[in-house]
Subunit: 591 residues, 2 copies
């Protein structure tokens, strides 16, 4: 029997406070509702929904999946009621402006809630995640009329949202899309084309679905500069704003996937569907990036969430499954007592903690970038958000897959059985490195726009903070923290060296630089993750909670001796590996 997911409320709270320093948002415009004392109760309330409602439905969604029936998608059993509970709890509007019915709380806090929902049931969590994206796009680019018409219902969760980018020939290369938008006389557009891989593209849990669709105007320039964003409701709104006539968009197929069976992945057909332009003509990609950036961070969080769930179920299994003898235990010992199993669990826990820290730090940076009255703070926070977003997305989701795989391993043969949660998580986790921009795309974004685009300054600012953490750790004179500081210092130097090389090489020999992008991102994640864990150990030291103190020190110490200690030796994989492989590429692949 798998243990139910029990949301790590304390860990999330600790991450928000010690790693991401959410307290910085207090009193900022737009965050008037934020009160540090509310964080814990909000997280605890969300944890109940996650544990009691969403987690029990996770295996149900996996076994049943969503079904396409009579032209519409039927969500798995129980999902509709769970969604109702989600809406009634007001969870959708947590971070939305009060003006539109939201609660005006920090996005970073909403991330904490979303982590729990993803951890309990990732297939379910995807539905609100996509709705968030639609809300963000409308807030940033919608007209007043559009906002008034759609935001209140999206913010309440009564309607859900989708993102429609991909077409069979246009995946990572969004610019290749062919869906057409023809202007109509009434100012609307007629949308025609096929979109694939549309998450929660159709379902029966909400009374309307608001599709945000990338399409091309008749005279649009080729490529990504000719793409516009349209809003296409499943039901066109009547004059009084209620869903009326069925629009010309429908789900014509569901993908048979390896995981997240509970989440319908739709092939959507637009046949002259009525749509309205969001933002300017041919500027759709910029609008889409508003949704994408938020979605990327949320997908990173899925890595954290699934990793946490994998850790929990493996830890529970290790306490219950008895095999072999261990010192101090009479009779067969729980496998938790075997050093190798416990070390595996430590690896899982430390990596998840580091990924969580990066995601929440990115979330608070996004809030600050939006809300700080000081333009310098806003600019610095935006740079930080931009830098951390691809790392949060790629590094965390790679860890999600790795940790889910370790979770299977802890379960032994049982982990290979489909009904085991560990097996489901291994399958579910695998999508996250792929969607919302593959992790390879994230790495290219990191070394290109984010690193080279700031001439290295974005990472340099991060490294300065890492070095400050080194100083703080040394100043404690705690021998364990001093050892962590030494590892972190060496890691920072490695990241600094790799960053300099990357900026220079991307300018001189772009192919060679790009060949090292994924390794560079991995190194950056390790060093920044180690920095946060060290910060956590320092912060816990000044607290009263001795368990927390020991725990944070254990995680930071372990991470330092494993991921950080190996950082310097991984620089050649970036600076030399790429060259080696480009030289050999012809011999290996003919190109």
């Amino acid at each position: 029997m798998d243990m139910a997911y029990d949301a790590p409320v304390s860990d999330i709270e600790f991450a928000l406070n010690a790693f991401a320093r959410i307290g910085r948002l207090q009193g900022l415009p737009g965050h008037e509702a934020y009160d540090p004392d509310l964080v814990r109760p909000i997280l605890e309330e969300a944890a109940k929904l996650a544990r009691d409602v969403l987690a029990p439905l996770n295996p149900v969604g996996d076994a049943h999946g969503a079904v396409l029936k009579d032209g519409g998608v039927v969500a798995p059993p129980g999902f509709g009621d769970a969604y109702k509970a989600f809406v009634e709890g007001g969870w959708m509007g947590l971070a939305a402006p009060e003006e539109w019915g939201g609660q005006g709380l920090p996005k970073a806090l909403a991330l904490g809630v979303m982590e729990m929902f993803h951890g309990a049931n990732m297939a379910f969590g995807l539905c609100p995640m996509l709705s968030y994206g639609a809300v963000e796009a409308l807030l940033a680019h919608g007209t007043d009329v559009q906002r008034a018409a759609y935001l209140p219902k999206l913010v309440s969760g009564e309607w859900t949202g989708t993102m429609n980018l991909t077409e069979p020939q246009a995946g990572s290369d969004v610019g290749a899309l062919k869906t057409k938008a023809e202007p109509c006389e009434d100012g609307s557009y007629s949308i025609t084309g096929q979109k694939i891989y549309i998450t929660w593209g159709d379902h029966d849990m909400a009374e309307n679905i608001i599709h945000l669709v990338l399409a091309r105007l008749p005279d649009a320039p080729a490529g990504s500069k000719g793409i516009s964003l349209f809003l296409v409701p499943k039901f066109i709104l009547d004059a009084d704003g209620t869903p009326g006539e069925r629009n010309g968009v429908r789900c014509i197929g569901l993908e048979k996937k390896m995981g997240i069976h509970g989440s319908p992945t739709c092939v959507m057909e637009y046949s002259g569907a009525k749509g309205w332009l969001i933002g300017e003509e041919n500027r759709g990609l910029a609008c889409m990036f508003t949704m994408m950036n938020s979605a990327r961070l949320n997908v990173g969080l899925e890595g954290v969430a699934v990793g946490e769930a994998a850790f929990q179920t493996a830890f529970a299994y290790a306490q219950e499954r008895k095999q072999g003898a261990a010192a101090g235990v009479t009779g067969p010992a729980p496998i938790l007592h075997h050093a190798d199993v416990r070390r595996t669990l430590t690896t899982m826990r430390a990596k998840v903690a580091a990924a969580r820290a990066i995601c929440y730090a990115c979330g608070v940076a996004a809030d600050l970038a939006h809300s700080s009255p000081d333009p310098d703070v806003r600019a610095a926070a935006k740079t930080r958000e931009d830098l951390l977003t691809p790392i949060a997305k790629a590094w965390s989701t790679d860890i999600g897959v790795e940790v889910a795989s370790l979770g299977v391993q802890v379960h032994g043969g049982m982990g290979f059985m489909n009904e085991t949660l560990a097996a489901q998580l291994y399958r579910d986790a695998r999508i996250a490195p792929i969607y919302e921009g593959t992790n390879g795309i994230q790495a290219i974004d990191l070394v290109g726009r984010k690193l080279s685009g700031t001439k290295g300054a974005s990472m340099q600012a991060m490294i300065v903070e890492v070095e400050e953490t080194v100083r703080q750790a040394r100043a404690t004179n705690d021998p364990q923290l001093v050892q962590i500081a030494d590892r972190l210092k060496a890691g920072a130097a490695a990241l600094s060296e790799a960053s300099e090389w990357m900026v220079k090489t991307l300018a001189d020999e772009p192919e060679k630089g790009l060949a090292g992008a994924t390794e560079y991102l991995a190194l950056a994640g390790d060093v920044i993750g180690g920095h946060f864990l060290a910060l956590g150990a320092i912060a816990a030291r000044s607290g009263q909670d001795m368990d927390q103190r020991a725990r944070q020190l254990a995680l930071a110490g372990f991470f330092a001796e494993t991921s950080l200690a190996s950082a310097p030796g991984r620089v050649p994989a970036i600076t030399e590996g790429g060259a080696r492989f480009l030289e050999g590429s012809k011999a290996l692949f003919g190109v």
Copy 2:
């Protein structure tokens, strides 16, 4: 459309020659039939069966699975005919003694053939793999009567074999098993109990199935010293040696697994089944290890095989899928032209090549340990086989999972679809680190029996060879090989340091040593894998095949700058990581 698996005949041949030096077997007793000129034709013939018969059935097995019907297991459609072709080709007896109808060829060559069958269809390959184990156990421990009765049919493949170890409470801890064996008056035993996770425990492809079953005699000592091995045929042989009366053993359930659906994983019920003792009473574990060691190497090879298949399908997809622009390509470019994709493929290829080298080196060592007339050579080869077996099993299967996951990534969204071969391989690959002794058990075996059991001499002998490779590489004066030599030298030093630490620490603080076992195995695999790839680059240099030369240099060079370059920085994960985690264990896990 997935590309069909095309067996890497040249790579396997190269691995047998350059890495494993199979030529050393020529002229040895028991290998009279071995002729180096036969290797290529045999591999090519097997490649046809793999490509034309087994590979097309791989998705069939995945989609249909095996079915339990009317008290018996029905293999997936087409598997029975494929098995017939396998038997008719004489593949089962390739490495069996001619005395029993085999061809007396080296086991290492049979490994090459098995790699292809696993790569084409791992679920299918498991059936002969288990039969090999039964053959080995009978050869080593059977009486003359038993051999005469069972070996000819097992060697021909007309009958298949199984291994029955696991029970619900007895997985890694085999000593906890409860199946009973009561002596009968006719010298046979009556076997009663339930076994789980029995691969190909029942099926309709062969006319008899020979179960090798671990059970406990009534007065047996507790634990693993009270286990005996029994042979239990599905059909008891008549006086004339043909299968007659149905024995009291049957499959009562099939596991629903994440992968290898084509291979039935059976719950077997023994209710007073007639069995015969193999070897001595209470010495069953030793007999079982004869099968286990061969099975472990074969499972390691599954990692290689699935990794190769994952590489092939990803490479094919990367040539065909077009996204984005690339220099020198008009219109959308195949994603193979993007540096990040090509680098991912390089990683896959290099790791698979290194794992293949380790497996074949282990196989030739096993042959030498058996056949060399020189007792010193035999002893050294046995030590090498013992050392490499856990590395071949664990390192290769971890790579199988990693490479299969990278293969999914190269496919993008398509890789997450169940019908894609990449997705199947990701699910199939996941079992290999678990069965035949989890990879954690392998790591404990490596640092315990294999390393400390020889006071470190086994690894020291290996490191001496690595250092010889360093010298050879330097002597070429080829700047690329000299750079590889430098990386290899540093890797050897790291492995040497870690080995010394491990032997000492296991003696003084066993828990601390064991906590570093898995990391130690990973380091050993990287250094030994790098050593073989360097050897390959040196060997290819003296050959006439310029493509091969460039390819081997590319793989060795890439592996050196990535896996080898990071080796020294990973020593702390062994020597410090364990200590760190043991200190923090209480805080993290309460034990």
